[in-house]
Symmetry: C2
Subunit: 187 residues, 2 copies
Amino acid sequence: MARKKQYTEEEVIEKAMHLFWRNGYEATSVRMLEKEMGINQFSIYSSFKNKQGVFLESVKCYKKKINSIKETLQHSNNGILGIKHYFYDFLEFSTENSKFKGCLVTNTVNEIKDNAEPLVMIALKQFAAEIRALFVSNLKQDDQRATIEVEKQADFLMNTILGLSIASKVFDKNQLENIIEVTFANL
Amino acid sequence: MARKKQYTEEEVIEKAMHLFWRNGYEATSVRMLEKEMGINQFSIYSSFKNKQGVFLESVKCYKKKINSIKETLQHSNNGILGIKHYFYDFLEFSTENSKFKGCLVTNTVNEIKDNAEPLVMIALKQFAAEIRALFVSNLKQDDQRATIEVEKQADFLMNTILGLSIASKVFDKNQLENIIEVTFANL
DNA sequence: TTTTAAACTAAGCAATCGCTTAGTTATGTT
DNA sequence: AACATAACTAAGCGATTGCTTAGTTTAAAA
């Protein structure tokens, strides 16, 4: 009936995701996406509607990629030690050519204005809430831990992860590991 | 010999600074600066050379503003308690109409790409280094604190401050205070 | 009072932004 | 083989970006 697509949407989105991850949302232009994805602007818009659509699919792709270390945390039975393991996994996950890129989600949360791009913001907040919920359930595994403290500690851990996203662009690997060690030393 | 300026550069830079603080570097256009500063683009470029120049002066202005709470930390003799005080001071400092704006410097560090705007990046990193040095000297005030740990803890505290800059846009005041409390609870 | 130079206004520069559209190519159906 | 239709190419849309420039106004020096 008609011509076949010369690309698979899964493949080109993964390339787009890496571009957004490195550059952020605004700084990634449609022309750059064109080159990185290897398809024409027409194809981009016909497959994903608009730039926001490309990004939302990129977040889905990012979620899939990070899902393996998220599942490790999900099935962990070591309480806070499982979370610490997740922090190290995350550090490795966000490394490329011994260069840290931070977290796609956190990077974008910090970049997007409150009013602008509400759909993007909703998707990002939902992702963050999922991670925080895992922190809470893992903290509750520790018998001696006070229940009242769990929510506070979850916020604290989220803050540390947020910090690591920026810190990973400025600090070296050793410093990042020190941050994790101090974070969990007395928690 | 010639006409007088109808504005003082100090006054208009303070307005520019607040705009950058709220919106970030890229998202603040020269047209927006024009309106906020109340002067024509020609005056902006004749006084500050270019947009980057306006921003660099804005960072100087920001430093002056934050200097009072920095000096409190500088003259503090309570070791880590002085740092905790600084965290709360910073939270109040970055609040406007019960809305948190984060830290101008941190916001921009996270936004600017490594290669782009190197002058901006240098100014920002220098500012961060000054804060970290204060953390180190205050930590050393505590006699029982192991010297080896001080540098690690300084990185940890920097990471917490970085985190708070993002967290302050997503979390409420109570949560932010919880983060500070947990941070210093066992340090 | 005339001169002169800086401070102003406003229009417009090239480049880039996200996005669209007219026209061509390819492919499965009849 | 002829048709129908989706996938492609490439040019270009209006809006906005940082920045400049030609022309006018103002005020201090001569």
